[in-house]
């Protein structure tokens, strides 16, 4: 394909997902400056590999590259974030011990919610973003993050539990709604 044709096709297929790319980069990197670098580099990489893209989901494909670019960047630029070893815990971790009214009022406070997501370990954070903001299926997330589906489910469950606990932290345990 002619280079110009290739760019045109890339602009039509992949660039519409730049918002999603930046959003993921922004949540992973934690600030605008680094997120721009990651999103831009990932998009340029995507363009270089675009000839090899035959899939049907350009957003999943682009976000896979964003994620890889982020971790490469992370290794070069920052000491490792604490990573969490996850075993095959049971998935029954929805938290009902928080008071629904208080939780709801906290959930209404965007700033608190943003902070709670930011405080999640990066492996949890990415899965929350991909599941809730992008609506990706467990299978898509598993492929994107190169982990088994069971790991996606257990990380998601633990991330949610952690969010519920942080947002309902002042509550007495056992307080039923």
């Amino acid at each position: 394909m002619d280079e110009r044709e290739r760019l045109k096709s890339f602009e039509q297929t992949v660039l519409p997902h730049l918002d999603a790319a930046y959003n993921l980069a922004r949540w992973l990197a934690g600030n605008d400056h680094d997120a721009r670098d990651v999103a831009q580099e990932a998009s340029l990489r995507a363009f270089r590999f675009f000839a090899g893209f035959r899939g049907d989901n350009a957003r999943v494909w682009l976000l896979t590259i964003v994620r890889n670019t982020f971790y490469t960047w992370l290794r070069k630029n920052r000491p490792p974030e604490t990573t969490i070893e996850i075993g095959d815990e049971a998935l029954a971790v929805e938290d009902v011990s928080v008071n629904a009214d208080v939780l709801n009022s906290r959930l209404a406070d965007v700033r608190l919610v943003r902070q709670a997501i930011e405080e999640l370990p990066v492996e949890f954070r990415e899965i929350v973003i991909l599941r809730e903001m992008e609506g990706f299926s467990y299978k898509e997330i598993a492929e994107l993050a190169d982990v088994p589906i069971g790991t996606v489910m257990s990380r998601l469950a633990r991330a949610r539990k952690q969010l519920q606990q942080r947002l309902g932290a002042e509550l007495k345990p056992g307080g039923q709604p």
Partner: protein, 251 residues
Amino acid sequence: MNCPQARPLIALYADGELDAARILELEQHLRDCPTCAAAWNNLRNLKKTVKQDALFFAAPTELRKQLKAELRSQVETGPRGILGIWNWLTTGTTAVAAVCLALLLIVTLNRPAAQEQLAQEVVSSHVRALMANHALDVASSDQHTVKPWFDGKLDFSPPVKDLAAKDFPLIGGRLDYLDGRAVAALVFQHRKHVINLFVWPVAGKDLSPATLMPIQGYNPVHWSEDGMTFWAVSDLNETELLEFAQDFRGN
């Protein structure tokens, strides 16, 4: 359905990952059990909250502009010359770049169409074998079992090695069809990842060092020596697959 059965399904239900039969059972349970219903409500509220627009960071307009300008200038100046390779190397990971250099890896951004098509075929074959659950015709970690198995099935004898000592144990082999002929597929494992190594004879010069041919999120590695051509493909990252190639070649 009781609570211990219902509880792990609530998240699947909320995420649209639960099958129809269990949806009905779970919905019934949620009508009957206030505790599980509360868990479901809490989760639904949490999901709605995280999904709200206010938490989504849209790409800044300048980023979009810069990117388009950069892409356009790459296309106009031609990204595939020396500059293109240099860009690739500098933007790739330091680790990968180091390994690439160590292996004297050539990234053929300008690979010929035939090679690209073959890379595509190799990846499809790999994916198909995994999807159809047909990775192995002969399951054995013993190279002295796998190698003779190919006798009489192919018009050549592929080199077979077990690389268990390098953490790439041989798990078996099968016949496959690539490039218009029957080929040997040797199957290796690395942690939970499967590596297919396709081997068949070719006329022509050796292609060394091993060459990376990224396609569809896969990184097939290709080399030729002693009249045989080799394609290794896996969902492993490129660094590990290059290590595999290096170990197989006995470097």
